[in-house]
Symmetry: C2
Subunit: 334 residues, 2 copies
């Protein structure tokens, strides 16, 4: 009996909010590994908001996904068979071969996980790309100083929750916005100073003003839209805006106005800087060392929201846009 | 016969585009200088777009002008009488005591002009605040590298024209936007590579695309509005936006939408940073030395647009908003 692999392909390009019908689950034979190759069974895969951008057919910092081809994304797997001397059966490996349950590879793009006492899926979250995004963006663009006030939107997400906790470790006051009271309660439990439920606050500007009466020095933006406008309004002079994402706009089907108060960038000497995690890849070793230590010391906590099975990967992805996740959204495959 | 001083006071706060009736010319006795004081006759005064901001009654980086009080701004004058050992009659001095033709001062805020072979009013333009604004903003935020493309809006103004020429000296390609063919012809004559008349181009985005087919690495923004949106559209990854001013919005009476494509800040890793010249005051000595040398070497040229007489200062100021000036707008008082 031949072994089978399953993968999720892009069936059609979403218009607006992605739908289940934009995705297709396929089954194909899983070949035996040739000499030099390894066979990997994925245990976990990541879904991340940035993947929505790759579903548009347009030039960007990563090439668009192609219709009829498997999607890609971070995954953690276990080597099942190895004909490559760099890997042994049983090794845990990280790859960009998510959205499938097994694959055969020459191994060049696989990385063995460090032998740390953390769950392997942490390398898709707190110790992975979202963690490095939080760590590097806050450090390189935010340059936080003790006593400053940091405002974080999408604060209960995989990136935002880490930003909040690193900012606390750097001695900052943290004001966090999220869209559910359960998220806010968890954020308070990990040390966030002030929380705002943007769905129920009524007036977001007034809620943030109340939470940060002296204004904000740093804004870590995962959301864009009204949150960005509010942040510009309450920004103190020389504020730094870390433009990590604008999830509120990812599914827009028509062009929306930008922040009406963009002129504050001039008068308040604001730095607003976008980035992608690859820009700060040079910080990866430092990040992994410091974050691993923080985890060992109990100084950083994280949540996971888990769907099970490759067939549910689109559902997990779609749930990102309704804010269904607390912390890192994962799909368990193994 | 007592000597008289004339000054322009803010009579009422402008709503929208300032009008002549918002200003008032007054005459008062000019006192004799007491011991320690000097009497200065102004020769030149500066009008600058940023002054519009000080006419609003709102908190900002400089306090608002007060109704019934004289306006302030850069001026060059000559010491007529001195009872202060730091100054002698005949000294040329720079002050923030513009909008008046003479004043008495204890001298603490006066600076003697360097003994260089340049016209004194150059210290209100190319060697003054507009020059330092251009020099420091381009250096500190833009960080231009040879071969990069720099897009400058308001390019024929006091700041923009200097930005264009410094960018050329740094080895960049320069694309300049202004609103009159005479301005563009002058910009070409000082070495600008490509020019765009935003008033007659029809489609500004297409015009800038044609002028910069490979995109822009740096945008020096004096204008905001549509220019900013166009710059975001044509920006290359890691572009730097030097947010110096947004003159298109200074007289807005209703809130206007911001750039609809602000999301490019994220995907293109754009840095958009506002500043005021005081932020980079530490560069002043270096700037004056390098700019003075460039002027001696004939590498930087400038234009002036001059109104005469204190009574015409409001007219000169208002003309900034119709783009009537090529280069530095000045009022000749002496």
């Amino acid at each position: 009996m031949t072994s089978k692999a399953h993968e999720i392909r892009l069936k059609s390009r979403p218009v607006g909010l992605p739908q289940a019908e934009n995705f297709e689950l396929t089954e194909s034979a899983l070949p035996e590994p040739d000499p030099g190759e390894v066979l990997v069974r994925n245990l976990w895969m990541s879904v991340d908001p940035y993947m929505r951008g790759r579903m548009y057919d347009r030039p960007s910092y990563v090439p668009p996904f192609q219709i009829g081809e498997a999607l890609q994304g971070g995954a953690i797997g276990r080597v099942e068979k190895s004909n490559n001397s760099d890997f042994a059966a049983g090794d845990l490996v990280e790859s960009m071969n998510g959205w499938r349950d097994a694959f055969v590879s020459v191994g060049g793009a696989l990385q063995k996980l460090p032998a740390e006492n953390v769950p392997p899926q942490a390398y898709l979250g707190v110790l992975g790309m979202p963690g490095l995004t939080a760590y590097s963006g806050l450090a390189r663009i935010g340059e936080p100083k003790a006593g400053e006030t940091v405002f974080v939107s999408g604060a209960a997400g995989a990136v935002g929750a880490i930003v909040c906790q690193i900012a606390k470790l750097r001695g900052c006051k943290v004001v966090a916005s999220a869209g559910a009271d359960a998220k806010l309660a968890w954020l308070k439990s990990v040390g966030v100073d002030e929380v705002v439920n943007y769905k129920t606050s009524g007036n977001l500007l007034e809620a943030v003003r109340k939470a940060a009466p002296h204004g904000i020095d740093i804004y870590f933006d995962n959301v864009g839209g009204e949150h960005l406008e509010v942040a510009l309004e309450v920004a103190r002079p020389h504020a730094r805006f870390i433009e990590c994402g604008m999830i509120s706009a990812y599914n827009d089907t028509e062009v929306k106005p930008g922040p009406r108060n963009i002129i504050y960038v001039v008068g308040k000497s604001i730095k607003m800087q976008g980035f992608i995690v690859m820009n700060y890849w040079d910080m990866r070793d430092q990040f992994r060392a410091e974050m691993t230590q923080w985890i060992k010391d109990g100084k950083i906590k994280w949540e996971e929201t888990v769907e099970s099975g490759i067939a549910n990967a689109p559902k997990a992805f779609l749930a990102l846009f309704s804010g269904a996740n607390i912390g890192k959204m994962l799909v368990k495959l193994g």
